[in-house]
Amino acid sequence: MADRQSGGGTAGAAALQTRRRTGHRIRRWPGAAFIAPHMLALGLFMLLPTGYAIYMSLYTTRLIGGTRYSGLANYGTVLSSPEFWEGVRRVLLFAVIQVPLTIGVAFFFAAIFDAGVVKYGKFFRTVFFMPFAVPGVVAAVMWSFLLLPGFGPYSRVLSGLGLGHVNFFSSNLILPTIVIIVLWEWTGYNMTILYTSLKSIPREITEAAVVSGASLTTIIMKLKLPMVRPTLVMLVFLNTVGALQLFTEPSILEAFQPQAISFGFTPTVYVYNTAIGSGEYNLGAAAAVVLAVLIGLISLSAFAFRRRNGEFR
């Protein structure tokens, strides 16, 4: 609908107006009907809860004294909470490591499959994608058992190899452990998107490069990589937002090794522990809003970056 209105010059606009005047209702309803379910879901499950969270964050409920309006006091508490910022720092560090690693590995495999240099490419693509079909909770539980100190097969194998008693859940190794789990879960998904993007590069371009005598590495790194850049940028953005909301893996690992996951391990864990764990729903709502604003700012800057690079023209 928006397209139709903006497209075309004065003549188009005039024609549209005529059309509108005559068949306004008839032409409009199918569009509205088609987007209605989406809008309804968006309203009920996104806008309404967001609005409610903002509303809640402005009040304080006490065991003694009940609920009263407290303005921005909850925001002050969150912003001055070292636990909250510790979590923000940790997810930023996590994103800096995890995002390039996941996309790098995903691109490596996507390029290999695209180049057709491996046998049974279809089979392996499916195998690599499979972890994404496993729900995050299940994946985290599974990995927790695999890595459980003294019990899981990995720590046994490592000690069998003479590498000593490796505790994957110790406070030093917990973040790398989560990186491994998330890498396992998300590489296949990223790979599939990159693979599709690589496939859309016209065959002639690759053929021309081959004829000119370019090596496989050159074709992949100098030719194909720049051509899937928009996809890479989008994936960096999606993965970063996902990383900042890291929750499932730490909250499952916490059940196995509570000392490794602190009260504010990640911002979302902080939100959960304040709201559910300590019954401070208003404070939790304020923390959630702060987190949403942080992610919103990152999204906006990513959007601006992509716009400057000529996307969305």
Partner: protein, 481 residues
């Protein structure tokens, strides 16, 4: 998400218990995050053992006994009063079925709304929403004041439940009452005792200590004989374990008798003495700091690296599933005392049954609660192999058959005699109405003690500050020190 874990833990634990068959009495109602690991650790172990036994699948918590599933209202007479009961412990369904059979006018429907904190969160939400709350709920003792302060529990004294008092352990009764009001009916308890490896003790010439000072002396002696051996395990990150020991030491860090004033005393003189006592054992490597219920802890007990466990009454049953070499070597003795001549015990775990405010049938719910916690019929089932709860119900606790029962882990000895007499000597704790937050925040704050980056006294000081600011934010007047 948290809900589903505790669910998992419970399911598996149920299966472990039912397989033991014999006089099982874990009734492990430890709470919060700890419970979840215990559950999962148990799940880990159960998963292997179940596979080894070739047992099929894992039973749902409610159908553990193999009898009618929970929520079944079969057998209820038409026109019976329907009551909803939220509970999670194994075997509760069997007792509920028995009640329904013998009380045709009332029909109780058991629902599992998650274990411990998961249930409390749901209960709080339902109460806030004024919709969906059950008539009856299983609530651990430490959580009762949190519900009392929001006026969420029905005073049972108006329905004559007070008549059950003489049949209940005084420590349990004290925890369900506030002045003349009674907010719940006690079910089980977990009195602490010194559970020691007799072979390890005699091999190293140790005597069973009667005071904590003597306990430290024996620890020195053991450590001198073998530098790898510790007298016991002390898990700083397990709030309920530490609080139970503090309670016995005369160092319980909270004081609360209802109302707006709350005492928080982690920096008090006795509390500091307690912290320094354990810190010194930890520093000398005479107490290990493995997580409660972790594989490491069991290995330490079984290898002789830890010569004793400060164990709740429900502890030995779970323990005997997790050790091999030392089966038959473990004996119970009263906990060492802070002062010579005292005879005090601590308590870790146990649940009560409360009637939730807003219930239309509070009278019938109260009748059920009294029957559930305080009748021989109920306890026949609750102390049985599936439920395995450790009774606060005195007629059973004092019975000779209960006291003379044995467990493979303790050979021919009768640990119940020791635990039962400890139950009579429990120091009443005054739980603060902010326990959910305390449990949530504890582990992070005390993790440094295990790591060695802070002392127990420093963790106490930090926690004092955290709890004080939390309580003040909740509107309490905090009395510190």
């Amino acid at each position: 998400m948290a809900t589903s874990h505790s669910g998992v833990g419970n399911v598996r634990r149920t299966s472990t218990e039912s397989r033991t068959g014999t006089a099982a009495r874990p009734g492990a109602q430890g709470a919060g995050r700890r419970r979840r690991i215990f559950g999962l650790a148990a799940a880990a172990l159960a998963a292997t053992t179940v596979a080894a036994c070739g047992s099929t699948g894992l039973p749902a918590p409610s159908s553990a006994g193999g009898s009618a599933a929970s929520g079944s209202t079969a057998g209820c007479a038409a026109g019976a009063t329907h009551l909803t009961f939220w509970g999670w412990s194994a075997g509760y369904d069997l007792a509920v079925n028995e009640f329904n059979k013998t009380h045709p006018d009332i029909c109780v429907q058991l629902e599992n709304a998650g274990a411990t904190t998961a249930e409390y969160v749901k209960l709080n939400d339902a109460l806030t929403a004024h919709s969906g709350a059950p008539d009856i709920a299983q609530i651990e003792y430490f959580e009762l004041p949190s519900f009392e302060i929001t006026h969420s529990l029905v005073d049972l004294s108006q329905y004559g439940v007070g008549s059950a008092k003489s049949d209940e352990a005084p420590a349990a009764w004290a925890q369900v009452t506030q002045g003349s009001a009674q907010y719940a009916m006690p079910v089980d308890l977990g009195p602490l005792a010194l559970y020691y490896n007799e072979k390890e003790f005699s091999a190293n010439g140790l005597t069973v200590p009667t005071t904590w000072a003597d306990f430290a002396t024996q620890a020195d002696k053991l450590h001198a004989a073998n530098s790898k051996d510790a007298i016991t395990n002390f898990d700083p990150e397990s709030p309920q374990d530490v609080l139970a020991l503090m309670q016995q030491y005369g160092a319980f860090p909270f004081s609360y008798t209802g109302g707006n004033t709350l005492g928080i005393h982690f920096n008090g003189a006795t509390e500091t003495a307690f912290a320094n006592y354990w810190q010194s054992l930890i520093d000398k490597h005479e107490a290990t700091t493995a997580a409660d219920f972790s594989p490491t802890q069991w290995t330490n007990f079984d290898s002789g690296a830890d010569a004793s466990r400060l164990s709740p009454a429900w502890g030995p049953v779970g323990m005997q599933l997790s050790i091999k070499q030392t089966t038959g070597d473990w004996r119970a003795a009263a906990l060492p005392q802070a002062k010579t001549g005292q005879n005090l015990a601590g308590n870790w775990g146990g649940s009560s049954i409360a009637v939730v405010a807003g219930s239309k049938y509070a009278k019938q719910a109260a009748e059920f609660a009294q029957w559930f916690g305080g009748s021989a019929d109920a306890w026949k089932i609750l102390s049985g192999p599936v439920a395995g709860a450790y009774p606060a119900y005195l007629p059973l606790l004092d019975s000779s058959s209960f006291q003379s029962s044995t467990l493979p882990i303790s050979g021919n000895s009768t640990p119940n005699t020791v635990f039962a007499s400890a139950e009579k000597n429990i120091v009443d704790p005054q739980w603060p109405p902010i326990m959910t937050a305390a449990l949530t925040q504890w582990t992070s704050t005390f993790a440094g003690v295990t790591k060695g980056s802070e002392t127990l006294a420093q963790a106490f000081a930090a926690f004092q500050q955290q709890m004080t600011s939390y309580a003040q934010a909740q509107g309490f007047t905090v009395v510190g020190g």
